[in-house]
């Protein structure tokens, strides 16, 4: 009864729509992503940008396929008559199509996972010259940074409300909070971890570009959450030492702890 109502399908024009949309998707992925995202100043941020590009390229044909069906359907398969359309030719199932679809999505997922694990491993494997520890403390609503290295070099504590780290040296952050949960994020360095009261979380990063970067709080921490912003200065080693020496001693330190 419905055999005369099967809608036409031209593979050629469908493939043409699909190819055009895929090409647009891939072009946006490759050209658009680096332009839209923050500029990278570390390996981690570089990985993040690269991953977004790769995932976008991988997703482009899939999304384009769905959009192509929609466009094709809206253009060709509309019922133009009055009232209820007659039934179309039934299509209950197509085992090949379903298996192929699930197979392809499983392959894509496997790829995403392998890529993700590899990228994660390379992000976590931070080893650079002259590792320096910085203790980061969040409190409502400011950041403070302590430099244990000052103990060794200058025999006094240095505490600052801006972050100063030397270029191409490994910086290890120990992060905590004195009140509520904050989120320590240096956007251009591509690293982020919460500052939790009663716990210390860690991050390691090697900044590879000189510059002044923002540090922003990314966990809602109350009234002035949006003002909990400070600066990270990535400077040369020489500039860093000059800066460190210029800082006032924040607390007198018992000599006993300084002498070994």
């Amino acid at each position: 009864m419905a055999n005369n109502n099967s809608q036409k399908f031209s593979l050629k024009s469908f493939l043409a729509i699909w190819a055009i949309l895929t090409a647009i998707g891939i072009w946006i992925s490759i050209k658009g992503t680096p332009w839209l995202m923050m500029k990278s100043a570390s390996h981690q941020m570089h990985t993040a940008i690269l991953t977004v590009i790769v995932f976008s390229v991988a997703a482009a044909p899939v999304a384009a396929g769905i959009y192509a069906v929609q466009i094709y359907a809206l253009a060709k398969w509309r019922y133009k008559g009055e009232g209820v359309p007659p039934d179309a030719e039934p299509l209950r199932n197509n085992v090949k199509a379903v298996s192929a679809w699930i197979g392809v999505s499983a392959l894509l997922t496997t790829f995403l996972l392998i890529w993700g694990l590899a990228a994660l491993a390379s992000d976590e494997n931070v080893s650079g010259p002259r590792p320096m520890t910085v203790n980061v403390t969040g409190q409502q609503w400011l950041w403070s940074f302590q430099y244990p290295i000052a103990q060794t070099l200058l025999h006094h504590n240095v505490e600052s409300n801006v972050l100063e780290i030397p270029l191409n040296n490994q910086a290890n952050f120990n992060i905590t909070s004195v009140d509520v949960t904050h989120g320590f994020w240096v956007p251009s360095l591509g690293v982020k971890v919460d500052a939790n009261p009663g716990a210390i979380t860690t991050l390691s990063v090697i900044p590879n570009k000189l510059g002044v970067y923002d540090i922003r709080c990314v966990e809602l921490c109350g009234l002035n959450h949006s003002a909990m912003i400070t600066k990270a200065y990535v400077v040369t080693e020489k500039q860093f030492l000059t800066w460190l020496k210029a800082q006032p001693a924040s607390q007198p330190v018992a000599t006993a702890t300084v002498k070994n």
């Binding site: 009864m1 923050m38 981690q44 209820v84 379903v98 591509g190 939790n196 716990a199 002035n224």
Partner: protein, 623 residues
């Protein structure tokens, strides 16, 4: 309750049925609720030291509980248990009274057990809550039109933000499962009502009971901790947190009751021949969504109970000073929070797949794969919660496994796309508004889904977490996908509840405004996030101004679209074009009963011989 009622004989009894329930309605619910709240506020004087630091917390908690219990009493929710306790049986006349027989419009203000009344009540309630959340969204976006704070200060901004989130979550949980899971699903099963009609009324009025303390939060100082209410800031924030917490616990009671009811109805109340492989796909979606809600939502009530105890009883579940940790809250919250996304999404998907078959005049493509897809999503969703915690510092060693489970979800989600697209494939597309909303859903859900894949990848999440990118991602899912599905469902089933069509032209205007608005608002919001704007910022740095202005303009376009649909619903309910019982020539059972649907739905229960998707295969319905 049987179908063969001798109307003549029972008429006299009906006029006396109901007992003191006759005197109870929404108004008495509010009166007793307020009395309960006042008692709850002043009684603690006798029990607690009013010099104690937690005294204000204790009073507000008990007051909010007093409201809920008082409201239940005043609306008549406690009448049944009370009668059973005293050993009084409900008479048939009582049952008929409870089902709202011969009460006209009055029954919509009462504790009514008729699933169709409950469905309509849910529809209105969902729209009211959506409207309240929408107003807050507009206030937030208006405040973000340029850097710096404007007409609201940070404290008010944070309250708006938190309440916007929670109101929208609640209204979306009930937006499809509420109206259509109650009105349509029992008829689709071939049942005369839900398995537990009184629990059905209880679930509806418990959402009302929850909404009042939730909105009260705004007027007693608000909360500062977002809808996620992370600890320990949830312990530090003002007394608004107490009413917020009681509202959540109350709402969880509602979803649990509704979940039990949905699952039991589908498992036990199906008519002859309605085997599980003939069940309409929306009913399957209700079953899966309901079961998932039963697993997920109780975590929220438990976690909120802990918050209340920390605040008002001096315990230390979340306080680091005395052995607790905020990570406990984060785990409890996301154990609820991620499955909850799918409690919201799956019923909307079910409704949209019904729309796909009816408006393509084709059977659902690969019915069993569709069920497998929804079940797969539900199953995996309980194993992914810690992907919300990649950057919290809790268990970095579990990053890999949670990345795996999260990315696996893209496989069953892909199946949903395949089924939708396969159903449309070479169909005779009937370009009515429900189909248009479905097309919008597909387009938006692709974007919501793909951006979710970026966030599942830890190196990318280390950049994106906590930014506007995440906000844009889940708004593509909730607004662009779920809300489109919910509105599509309204355009689809509205003729069944009202006997009238929604206006096509207004529907198209509403769709295009909403569709364009979503792209403008949330594409710009993706860019804000990619450029480094954290979420929940009351004011932002000037570098984010352009994209925020665009997002604000887009939000106003969405609002215009929503108002057009709201106007459409109000106008069409009064004077829309009459539709008849089955305007879409659909084959599921809800369309084969008369409109308006009579009490107990079927004169004779139908016998089912096939699934309802026999388009192009045989004439007539599956009965």
């Amino acid at each position: 309750m049987t179908a063969t009622i001798d109307l003549q004989k029972t008429h006299a009894a009906e006029s006396s049925g109901g007992g003191f329930l006759r005197r109870l309605n929404f108004g008495t619910g509010i009166i007793f609720g307020v009395i309960g709240a006042l008692l709850g506020y002043f009684l603690p004087h006798h029990f607690f030291d009013n010099q104690g630091s937690a005294y204000a917390d204790q009073c507000t908690v008990i007051s909010a509980v007093g409201w809920v219990v008082g409201f239940w009493f005043g609306i008549g929710a406690l009448a049944g248990p009370f009668k059973w306790f005293l050993g009084w049986d409900q008479t048939h006349a009582d049952e008929m009274y409870l089902a709202g027989k011969n009460q006209g419009k009055k029954r919509y203000w009462k504790y009514c057990t008729d699933h169709k009344v409950v469905g309509v009540q849910y529809l209105v309630l969902a729209m009211v809550l959506l409207g309240a959340g929408g107003i807050l969204a507009m206030l937030i976006r208006t405040d973000l039109i340029s850097p710096g704070t404007h007409f609201v200060n940070q404290q008010v901004y944070n309250s708006f933000l938190s309440l916007h989130g929670m109101l929208m979550i609640i209204s979306l949980i009930i937006a499809v499962a509420g109206p259509w899971g109650n009105f349509v699903m029992p008829i689709q099963c071939g049942a005369r009502d839900m398995a537990f009609p009184r629990l059905n009324a209880l679930s509806l009025w418990t959402v009302v009971a929850a909404a009042v303390p939730l909105l009260t939060t705004l007027f007693i100082g608000g909360i500062q901790d977002g809808w996620t209410t992370y600890a320990p800031i949830s312990i530090q924030t003002g007394i608004g947190m107490n009413t917020f917490a009681i509202a959540i616990i109350t709402f969880v009671i509602s979803t649990t009751v509704a979940g039990v009811n949905t699952v039991c109805t589908i498992m036990t109340m199906r008519t002859t021949g309605m085997s599980l492989d003939r069940l309409p796909i929306f009913t399957w979606a209700s079953l899966i969504g309901g079961a998932l809600g039963l697993y997920a939502m109780p975590f929220f009530a438990t976690a909120m109970t802990m918050t209340i105890l920390d605040r008002s009883a001096g315990t230390s579940f979340f306080s680091a000073d005395s052995g607790g940790t905020g990570w406990l809250w984060e785990n409890m919250f996301w154990l609820m929070g991620h499955p909850e996304v799918y409690v919201i999404l799956i019923p909307a998907v079910g409704a949209l797949l019904e729309i796909a078959t009816v408006f393509s005049r084709k059977p659902l493509f690969s019915y069993k794969t569709a069920i497998g897809g929804m079940a797969g999503i539900a199953g995996l969703s309980i194993l992914v919660w810690a992907h919300h915690m990649f950057t919290t510092g809790w268990a970095p060693q579990l990053g890999g496994p949670f990345m795996l489970t999260t990315e696996l979800i893209s496989i069953p989600t892909g199946i949903i796309f395949l089924v939708a697209v396969g159903t449309i494939w070479r169909g005779n597309l009937w370009m009515k508004t429900p189909l248009i909303w479905l097309m919008g859903f597909i387009a938006n859900f692709i974007i919501g889904g793909v951006t979710g894949i970026y966030l599942s990848d830890i190196p990318v999440d280390n950049t994106m977490h906590g930014t506007m990118f995440v906000v844009a991602h889940f708004h593509y899912v909730f607004v662009g996908s779920v809300l489109f599905g919910a509105i599509g469902a309204v355009y689809f089933w509205f003729p069944k509840i009202s006997g009238r069509f929604l206006d096509e032209k207004l529907g198209r205007i509403s769709f295009w405004l909403a569709f364009i608005g979503v792209q403008v608002t949330f594409l710009a919001m993706f860019v804000s996030g990619l450029r480094g704007m954290p979420r929940r910022y009351a004011s932002y740095q000037p570098i984010f101004e352009h994209t925020n202005v665009i997002s604000t303009i887009g939000a106003y376009i969405i609002m215009a679209g929503m108002l057009v649909s709201l106007a459409n619903i109000i106008l069409s309910w009064r004077s829309g074009e009459p539709s008849g019982p089955n305007p879409w020539q659909s084959k599921t059972l809800e369309w084969l009963v008369p409109t308006p649907v009579p009490l107990e739905n079927f004169e004779v229960l139908p016998v089912i011989e096939s699934d309802p998707y026999t388009y192009g295969e045989k004439e007539g319905a599956h009965a």
